[in-house]
Structures are given as structure tokens and as C-alpha cells.
């Protein structure tokens, strides 16, 4: 449905998007994940025909964004970053305006307007001016104007920035709901959001795609360095010394003193080996009291940090 081939974008001399290619199938919800300035917004601005690529092609349903821009724009609903809106209009007029511009007719389709007001939960504020709306309602209105023509493709650039936790959940549920019928691109630097809503994740860093797959695929391919965190007391110095000899333990990342003889020890483990049993045995051997032991799996967050953080640059 969306096909991006060798897309490159320079702003003057600075490179924003560096030769990326990917395809998005119809009906998938794709998360664009990346730190700020990674090139997510630039990429979606090219797909939505706001900017032109320096080189490479972008096609939406076989329509090229440069040569058949109007066709592409008809198919896409777009919520730009930070939901820009006309502050001097009221909610219903705003939706009407966008709809009329899309239809090319002053006569509006009231039925559809009512529908998007319902979908986006704007019922309480229809007559309010945009300037008076809270951030949450502005995001919803941004979403409503993107949905008003019932587009096949929905592109949302950081739709939950600045919202409170309840509003974030609401927007996420809404995206999941819409994702059942539509192709969605969701840009975000918030991992749980992408994890919760997207069937596929593209991690972008410094203009390049550094990972591509379902959240579980990414997790399993990057799994390896797991973590085991224990809380224990008694004979700890001895225990720590011996513990590094257990097969499967790579190193001790951190020891934290909780009370005088109670410590929290953070182990890094080698891929594929689960040393929990050995740790338990060592405790008994050493007469160390084990109060808590938990294993942490690589989360999408760790992968994200690995791929986009400074560690990778070194």
C-alpha cells in the first residue's frame, strides 16, 4: 500500500533521511520509533506530500507522491506533530472546514461530521473555540480532522505528546480500534505506546532504519543480555565473590545497599542460559538468605536504547 524506495532527504547540507526503503502492507499498524530528530517526521512529511524527497520514490497505492500528489493526499488522513489547528475556529466549524476543502463543496456531510465527533469523543466541546480547548481535546480534534474523509491511510505524528496518562490510554485505544480497518503509521518516541498498538515496528535512528519487525520478533532477536535482580542478606561478600563463577552470569552490573546487610544485586546474564537455579543453590550453600529474585527480559525499551543510544555510537 505504501512503498518507500531509497528515500533520501537533505535539508540544505544536513542529512535528515538516509536512503531508507520499506513497504507497508494494507491494514497494518506500523510504529515509527526513534529519538527526536531521527527523521520520523521528515519521512511522514514526504509521504503526506508536504515535502519532496531529495532522491528516491514514495508511492501510495501506485500513485507517486510527486507526480500524483493530489491522488495520494486524498487517501491520507494526517495529524501533524503537535496537532496544529486554527485557533480562531470552533470545533465543529473546524471539522466542517477540513471536510469542505476535501470535498470541494461548501455543503457539508453532517452525518460524517457527527460520526467523527463521536469517534473522537468531542461531543462536549463542539461549540468551543479551539483556543479554549485542553491539550487532550486538541489532539482529538486533530485526529477528527484527519479522519473526516474516512481515509484508508492514517498518519499520526506523536499523537499523545502532552497528554495525561488517562488521555494517552484513550487515544491508544482509539488507534487500536481504527487499526482494525485502516493502515496506520504512528510516529512516536514513547515505547509502550508503540508496543501496545503496533503490529510492526520500524526503529529509525539518524535517518536510517536500524530495526524492522513485530515487537516480539525484535525482542527475540535482540534478546541475549538478560538481567537477574536479587535481594539477599547474610554472607554477602562471599556470595558475590562466588556468584561471578556461576555459568551464565556475565557480570555484576550493580550492587545496592538497602539496609546494613540487605543488598540488591543486579546480574547480567549470558544469552540462552538461565542461571537462576544455580544462584539459588549458591545461596543455600553459602547460607545467604534470598528474599527476592526476578528475571527481566529485554524490553523494547532496551532494544531502543541499544540501537539509538550513545552506546551504539562508541
Amino acid at each position: 500500500m505504501i512503498s518507500v524506495q531509497n528515500l533520501t532527504k537533505y535539508y540544505g547540507t544536513s542529512l535528515a533521511v538516509d536512503n531508507i526503503s520499506f513497504d507497508i502492507a494494507k491494514g497494518t499498524v506500523v510504529g515509527f520509533l526513534g529519538p527526536n530528530g531521527a527523521g520520523k517526521s521528515t519521512t511522514v512529511r514526504i509521504i503526506t506530500c508536504y515535502l519532496a524527497p531529495t532522491s528516491g520514490t514514495v508511492q501510495v497505492d501506485d500513485n507517486d507522491v510527486m507526480t500524483e500528489s493530489l491522488e495520494v493526499r486524498k487517501k491520507i488522513g494526517y495529524l501533524p506533530e503537535s496537532a496544529p489547528l486554527y485557533y480562531d475556529m470552533n470545533v465543529v466549524d473546524h471539522i466542517k472546514f477540513v471536510q469542505s476543502m476535501r470535498l470541494g463543496s461548501a455543503v457539508s456531510n453532517g452525518h460524517r461530521i457527527k460520526e467523527v465527533i463521536d469517534i473522537c469523543g468531542l461531543g462536549d466541546v463542539v461549540r468551543k473555540n479551539v483556543a479554549e480547548l485542553s491539550k487532550g481535546y486538541r489532539q482529538r480534534l486533530g485526529l477528527a480532522q484527519a479522519l473526516v474523509h474516512d481515509p484508508e491511510i492514517l498518519i499520526l505524528d506523536e499523537p499523545t505528546v502532552g497528554l495525561d496518562p488517562n488521555q494517552i490510554i484513550e487515544i491508544r485505544n482509539l488507534i487500536t480500534e481504527l487499526g482494525k480497518e485502516k493502515t496506520i503509521i504512528l510516529c512516536s518516541h514513547i515505547l509502550p505506546e508503540v508496543e501496545a498498538t503496533c503490529g510492526r515496528v520500524l526503529i529509525i535512528n539518524e535517518g536510517k532504519i536500524v530495526a524492522d519487525g513485530t515487537p516480539t520478533e525484535l525482542q527475540s532477536s535482540f534478546e541475549g543480555k538478560g538481567r537477574i535482580i536479587i535481594q539477599a542478606k547474610n554472607n554477602l561478600d562471599q556470595f558475590i565473590e562466588k556468584s561471578t563463577q556461576i555459568a551464565g552470569i556475565e557480570r555484576i552490573v550493580n550492587t545496592r545497599i538497602i539496609t546494613e546487610n540487605l543488598k540488591e544485586i543486579d546480574f547480567e546474564t549470558i544469552k540462552g542460559i538461565d542461571p537462576r537455579e544455580d544462584i539459588f543453590k549458591l545461596c543455600i550453600e553459602n547460607q545467604t538468605v534470598l528474599l527476592e529474585m526476578k528475571r527481566e527480559e529485554t524490553s523494547l525499551e532496551d532494544i531502543f536504547r541499544q540501537l539509538t543510544g550513545k552506546e551504539q555510537l562508541q
Partner: protein
């Protein structure tokens, strides 16, 4: 076509939803009315000539004030991104905004018609000359506005858009007042480029195609440049 009108309607309304329209209309009518009526009895003629020459001058300030927000505001607020990702051609957006601002100024000009009524009660003004004056003014407004919308597309700062528009309009306004300093061939060119030179012809009631071509090509050129500026975001 309809997309142009939808946008024009929205822009026109937003002038009236903010204080812009009221301030512009009120101030304009006060200044024009005061200047006109204070000299009317000195001239002792029942015509609108002095009204028109004042209006031309006041518009020098008012039109950049009306046009400065058209694209600058959208650029600063980020709404340009919404507008330009709608399935609408760029020239339609430019034309829609141009028409909205044009309509606001025309409303203001129509309201100055009250002066025609008041002098009609005192004398016998020449209707044809007055109409000619108004038509000329409307064309001048078009040129001023197209320059204003052009500078508005260049910057996200409304003040800068205002100043640039004022300077460009002022240059075109002053051209024919400087010709006496110039050698002959240059004088002719400058005179032809001057907004006022063509206005003076029309306001005499002589509507020559040369004058119309001048106005329409000026308007077209600046609107065309505006479209180019908007499309420059798509330059590679």
C-alpha cells in the same frame, strides 16, 4: 473552484472573528472621512477626487496589515502543514486567501460610498468619474494585496511580512514621483511600472487596456511568485 471559495469564506470569517476587520474598517473610515471632509469645503467642489487620493495613501499602510497574516500565521502555527496536505492545488490556496482579503477591503471601500451620498446632497458629483475612481482603487487594491500576500508567504513573522509589503508597495507607489530625476527612456519605463500613473489614467474615466493589462499582470505576477514560494518547500 469550490475549494477556493471554501477557503476564501473561512479566511473572510476569520477576519471578523478577530478584531482585525473591525479595527481596519473603523480606523480606515475615520481617517479617510476626516481627511476628506476637512478639505472638502476648501476645494469647494462636489467630487470624490480628494477621497481617492487619500485612500490610495492610507491603503499603503492598511493593506499590508490585512495581508500580513495570510500565510505567516499558518507558517508559525504549523497549520500550513494541514492546509498543504489537503488535496488542493497550491494556486487555489493562494487565490482563496487573496479573494478573502480582497473582499474585506472592498467592503471597506463600499462603506466610503457614504461620502458620495453626502456630497450628492450638496452638489452634483460626476457619477462616472466617481465610479472610475472606485474601479481604479479596486485595481490598486489588487496590486497592493498581491504584494502583501507574497511577502506573507516569505516569512513566518507577521511584522516582517508587513514591513516588506509596505516597502515594496511604497516603491511602486513612488516610481512616477521620481521620474523627473531620470533620463528619458528610464523615465518612461518607471512611469509605466508605477501604480499611480495607471490609476491617474483610470480615475480620469479613461479605462485603457494598457492600464488594465498593467494591473492584471502585476497581480498575476505576485500571486504567481507566491505560489512559487509555497512550492519551494518541494524543491529538492
Amino acid at each position: 473552484m469550490n475549494q477556493i471559495l471554501v477557503l476564501a469564506k473561512k479566511e473572510f470569517r476569520s477576519y471578523f472573528d478577530s478584531p482585525v476587520a473591525y479595527v481596519v474598517i473603523t480606523l480606515f473610515l475615520i481617517i479617510a472621512g476626516w481627511q476628506f471632509s476637512s478639505t472638502m469645503f476648501l476645494n469647494n467642489t462636489a467630487d470624490l477626487r480628494s477621497l481617492f487620493s487619500i485612500t490610495k495613501f492610507i491603503l499603503l499602510f492598511f493593506i499590508p496589515a490585512v495581508s500580513m497574516r495570510l500565510f505567516s500565521e499558518e507558517k508559525r502555527g504549523g497549520t500550513l502543514e494541514i492546509l498543504m496536505t489537503l488535496p488542493v492545488k497550491d494556486w487555489k490556496l493562494v487565490l482563496g486567501k487573496f479573494l478573502a482579503a480582497y473582499a474585506l477591503i472592498l467592503v471597506t471601500l463600499v462603506l466610503t460610498g457614504i461620502h458620495y451620498i453626502s456630497i450628492s446632497s450638496m452638489g452634483d458629483p460626476d457619477f462616472g468619474a466617481s465610479m472610475g475612481g472606485y474601479i481604479g482603487l479596486a485595481l490598486v487594491v489588487g496590486v497592493y494585496l498581491s504584494i502583501g500576500i507574497f511577502t506573507s508567504s516569505l516569512t513566518e513573522n507577521q511584522i516582517i511580512a508587513f514591513i516588506m509589503a509596505f516597502v515594496i508597495i511604497f516603491i511602486f507607489f513612488m516610481l512616477d514621483k521620481l521620474v523627473f530625476l531620470m533620463p528619458g527612456f528610464l523615465a518612461n519605463i518607471l512611469e509605466f511600472l508605477s501604480i499611480d500613473y495607471h490609476y491617474n489614467n483610470i480615475s480620469r474615466g479613461v479605462i485603457d487596456s494598457r492600464n488594465l493589462i498593467y494591473y492584471f499582470s502585476m497581480i498575476f505576477m505576485f500571486l504567481f511568485l507566491t505560489v512559487q514560494v509555497l512550492e519551494s518547500r518541494k524543491w529538492k
